[in-house]
Each structure stands twice: as structure tokens, then as C-alpha cells.
């Protein structure tokens, strides 16, 4: 882990010709298939193909693309949860959670218990989590529901919990995967303000969203993935227009 504060302009995430293949598998590889299926040739899916990118300290990079284009694989690689098949991934600093709906949230635990669990999983000690709990709780606007099992939460409430935890853990790199879309407009707006404020404080961000307006408002650069390849990279508005055009949509921005 990076002990000292990294200087402005440091590369926080670097992908160097990253390719990720998954072995395609029958849904439940059981003993039966193993014994009776013989050796079927391995089938591979290429989720990401020769992608290079760099995110410097204080930058926000958006990743756009259709479902299945490799966005989530890219985020999982950046979070260090999976390893590339070939190419190199370098990360530095405390990389915040892979924020996706219900990620790392245990349904049987209460909101409060989940805050502690995710906080510690993300690298804070319990004391540090406790110090931040008030702020997290306030930001989430969950009120007394924070002591209810997360099982009873609506997806909007889950999004509130997830974002509140992630944004208060002071990660050096925040990874956001399509979480704000579920909250109501007021909360989405609050999240955007929080991100803007933290970005001013030097937060680095990797952001996946289908909301092109959010991408343009929050990010400095965008990358458009199609079929696992990076087909466009640069200024968010231009990349988003290309993304819309490829889908036969009229960009209204």
C-alpha cells in the first residue's frame, strides 16, 4: 500500500495491453459432467482485448459501452479482484470498493453492521469506521432503517448505503459501477455533488455509467468499449456521441 501521499500527476491505475479471457463453463460443473463429459475443448470468451489506459491522480475516467462490452471486467481488474490473462495492471493507493448494487452487502446484516463490514474489508480499522459512522449515516438519510436488515431495503436504499460507505472511506481511487442510477433524483444529485467536492480534493475516479450526462458532468475523459476493445477515448462529450451514434441513437447533448 502506498504509505505517503502520492504527488499530483502520479499514475494511479495503468493498464498495459490488458487482455482478459474467461473460460466458458457449463453453469454447474459437477462430478457428472467431469466423469461423463470427457475432455471437451475449452471455450474461451474474450471480455477485454488489448486495452491500455492510464488514470492519473485527480483524474476521473469514465468507461462507457453497451452491456457485455467489458466495462465491469475492466473495473474488476482495476480493483485488483481479478488478474489479467495477459498484459499488466498497475495500481497504487487505496483503491475504493467496486460499487455496484448490493456489492459486498450481506442481506442478513443490518445497515449498520454492513457499514462496519465493508469499511473494514476496504482497509479501515473498526475504530476508523466508527469515527466515520455518523457522517455515513447522515449522508445516507436512512434514519432508523440503518438498524434494519439490508434484506428489507429497496434498491434505492441499497444504493444510498453503498455510496455513503464508499464515499466516506476516503479511498484514493474510487471505483463506481452504475450505482447512482438507482437512487432518486435528489440523492443522485447529492452523490454528484459529493463526487465533485471530493474530486476537488484530489480523488481519482473510475466511473461506469450509462448516464452520459453524469459522465460528461463528472469525468475528464471517457473510454468507449465495444466488444472488449477500446474504440474511442478522449473528451467525454465526443466519446459519448460516438457511443450513441453506434447504437443508432440521436445524441441530445
Amino acid at each position: 500500500m502506498a504509505g505517503g501521499a502520492a504527488a499530483q500527476g502520479d499514475v494511479m491505475i495503468r493498464f498495459d495491453g490488458v487482455t482478459k479471457r474467461y473460460r466458458r463453463q457449463s453453469p454447474h460443473r459437477g462430478l457428472k459432467q467431469r466423469l461423463l463429459g470427457g475432455r471437451e475443448p475449452a471455450a474461451w470468451t474474450t471480455a477485454l482485448c488489448d486495452v491500455s489506459l492510464e488514470v492519473r491522480r485527480g483524474e476521473a475516467l469514465a468507461v462507457v459501452g453497451r452491456n457485455g462490452s467489458g466495462k465491469s471486467t475492466a473495473l474488476a481488474l482495476a480493483a485488483g479482484v481479478i488478474r489479467p490473462t495477459s498484459g499488466g495492471v498497475e495500481r497504487r493507493g487505496r483503491v475504493g470498493p467496486l460499487l455496484a448494487l448490493g456489492a459486498g452487502v450481506h442481506p442478513d446484516l443490518t445497515g449498520r453492521e454492513n457499514v462496519e463490514l465493508s469499511g473494514v474489508l476496504l482497509g479501515l480499522t473498526r475504530r476508523e469506521v466508527r469515527q466515520r459512522f455518523g457522517a455515513i449515516h447522515d449522508f445516507s438519510e436512512l434514519g432508523d432503517d440503518v438498524d434494519q436488515p439490508v434484506r428489507h431495503y429497496s434498491s434505492g436504499m441499497l444504493a444510498r448505503l453503498a455510496f455513503s460507505v464508499a464515499s466516506h472511506l476516503e479511498p484514493e481511487v474510487l471505483i463506481v459501477d452504475e450505482v447512482l442510477a438507482v437512487g432518486d433524483a435528489a440523492f443522485a444529485d447529492k452523490c454528484h455533488r459529493r463526487i465533485t467536492q471530493q474530486r476537488a480534493g484530489g480523488l481519482t475516479m473510475l466511473y461506469v455509467s450509462h448516464d452520459v450526462h453524469a459522465v460528461m458532468a463528472l469525468c475528464d475523459r471517457a473510454m468507449y468499449l465495444d466488444g472488449g476493445r477500446s474504440v474511442a477515448e478522449g473528451e467525454p462529450a465526443a466519446v459519448c456521441r460516438r457511443y450513441y451514434a453506434d447504437q443508432g441513437l440521436e445524441p441530445a447533448f
Binding site: 500500500m1 504509505g3 474467461y22 454447474h28 460443473r29 459437477g30 462430478l31 457428472k32 467431469r34 474488476a76 480493483a79 485488483g80 479482484v81 481479478i82 488478474r83 483503491v95 470498493p97 467496486l98 455496484a100 448490493g102 456489492a103 459486498g104 452487502v105 450481506h106 442478513d108 446484516l109 453492521e113 462496519e116 463490514l117 465493508s118 473494514v120 474489508l121 476496504l122 482497509g123 479501515l124 480499522t125 473498526r126 475504530r127 436488515p149
Partner: protein, 260 residues
């Protein structure tokens, strides 16, 4: 990293603590009796075994059969719960493993700690039974009990690492382990004394590390002695399985997020 040690130790302890707490909370959520279940289950089985073997089989033993059962059952329970639970240690934590990059070994360690703590909390109940039947503590416990704890911990942890990993690749393992543990129970002298095992099956006691451990716990608790060669065989198994489990886990752990 200077001065980072105290925080790293604090962090490691906290990570283990929140994961153990999570297991406990999830396990006992919505149960009225909560932790008491970990005592009630073996005691309920003890009652059934007592009735069956004492009254149906007219079983005679040198120590009171109730005490005999209690001295071995909790150790067995620890092993059985930990080993069956271990198959789910990684799969059950799938949502965490695919989203957060924390040291994966904690997913297994938390389950292991959970069952270890349950056993330690059950030991006073065993001591209570012993006192009730007129057996007191012994000086040799000072080294025998820690030794048994270490050997059984190594065995359980080794199997847990191995089974948690392999179950990701072969999901049938859960079923096989459940069946295997039940079979092993019948081959382990938990409800009958080892003296009932004919000599030509003696090798089974060496091939089954839980035989040495259950006999070890019982002898240590009741008489303050252990059977050296038998416990030695169990210790050899434990060391071997811990090494194998740690190796398999270490080799495969970078793939966990993809296969879970």
C-alpha cells in the same frame, strides 16, 4: 513502512473480527436460542446415543457412559461443523470476493475461528459434567489440552483450506464431504470405546486422524494421559493436510473471483 506495524496488526485483528461476527450474526439471525444451539445439538445427540447404546445395546463401560459421550462429542462436533462449513467458506463469501480485494485467507480463517471459539465455549460444559461425576482437573492438562487444540486446529484448518478451494471447482464436494464426515463419525470411537475395535481394524485408527484426537481428548480429560503413537499419527496427518491445504489455496487464490 515505519510505524505501520501496530495499525497492521490492529487491522488484521479487525478484519478477522468483523468476518467472524458476520458469520455469527448470520448463523444465529432469527433464531431464538442463538448460541445455545451449539451446545444443545451435541447434548441432544448425547441423549439419543445414551438411550440407544446404554439401554438397547446394554453397553457397559468403565466410566459413566454420559460422561464418556460428552468428552468426545464436542470435539467431534467442532471437527464436523468446521469441515462441512468450510466447503462454503469461499462460495458463501462470493459477493465479497468478487467485489473487494481483501486477503482471501480471511474468508476461511473466519469460519475456522468461529468453530474454534464455539468449541472453547463448550469446554466449560464438559468440565461441568466432569465435576458432576467426580472428575477433577489435572496438572497434565496444562500441556495436553493446548497440544490437542493445536493438533486439531491444524487438521481442521488444513482441511478447510483444501475443501473451500476445491469446492469452487467441483461443487459436488459439498455432498461428498457431508457423506464422508458422517461415515467417518461411525468409524471414529466417539460413541463407543476404542477397545471395541478388533485388532485387525487397528490400522483404521491410524488412518483416521479424528480417532487419535477424540481418544486423545477423552483420555486427557478423564485420566490426564494421551496415547502417544495415536496422537502422533493424528499430528502427522494434521501437518500434512495443513501443508497441502495451504499450498492448494495459495496456488489457486488468484482465480477465486473468477470461479466463485
Amino acid at each position: 513502512m515505519p510505524a505501520a506495524w501496530p495499525r497492521r496488526v490492529e487491522y488484521a485483528v479487525d478484519l478477522l473480527a468483523v468476518l467472524v461476527l458476520k458469520e455469527l450474526r448470520v448463523r444465529y439471525k432469527r433464531t431464538v436460542l442463538g448460541y445455545a444451539w451449539s451446545l444443545l445439538q451435541p447434548l441432544a445427540f448425547a441423549v439419543v446415543f445414551y438411550v440407544v447404546f446404554k439401554y438397547f445395546f446394554r453397553f457397559q463401560a468403565e466410566v459413566d457412559y454420559r460422561l464418556f459421550l460428552v468428552c468426545g462429542l464436542f470435539a467431534w462436533q467442532w471437527y464436523a461443523n468446521a469441515v462441512t462449513g468450510a466447503t462454503m467458506a469461499l462460495i458463501g463469501n462470493g459477493p465479497l470476493i468478487t467485489k473487494v480485494n481483501f486477503p482471501r485467507v480471511y474468508a476461511v480463517l473466519s469460519g475456522f475461528m468461529n468453530d474454534l471459539v464455539h468449541y472453547l465455549l463448550a469446554l466449560p460444559v464438559v468440565f461441568g459434567f466432569m465435576l458432576a461425576f467426580g472428575y477433577g482437573p489435572r496438572v497434565s492438562w496444562l500441556w495436553l489440552l493446548p497440544m490437542l487444540l493445536v493438533v486439531q486446529s491444524a487438521l481442521v484448518l488444513g482441511l478447510a483450506l483444501l475443501l473451500a478451494t476445491l469446492n469452487l471447482f467441483l461443487r459436488d464436494l459439498e455432498r461428498l464431504v457431508t457423506i464422508g464426515v458422517l461415515m467417518q463419525f461411525h468409524l471414529t470411537p466417539v460413541v463407543y470405546p476404542e477397545s471395541y475395535i478388533p485388532e485387525r481394524f487397528g490400522w483404521l485408527m491410524l488412518a483416521n486422524p479424528m480417532a487419535g484426537l477424540v481418544i486423545g481428548w477423552r483420555d486427557a480429560l478423564l485420566f490426564g494421559t494421551v496415547d502417544g503413537p495415536l496422537l502422533g499419527a493424528a499430528a502427522a496427518w494434521a501437518a500434512g493436510l495443513l501443508g497441502l491445504g495451504a499450498w492448494v489455496f495459495a496456488v489457486q487464490q488468484k482465480r477465486f473471483a473468477e470461479v466463485v
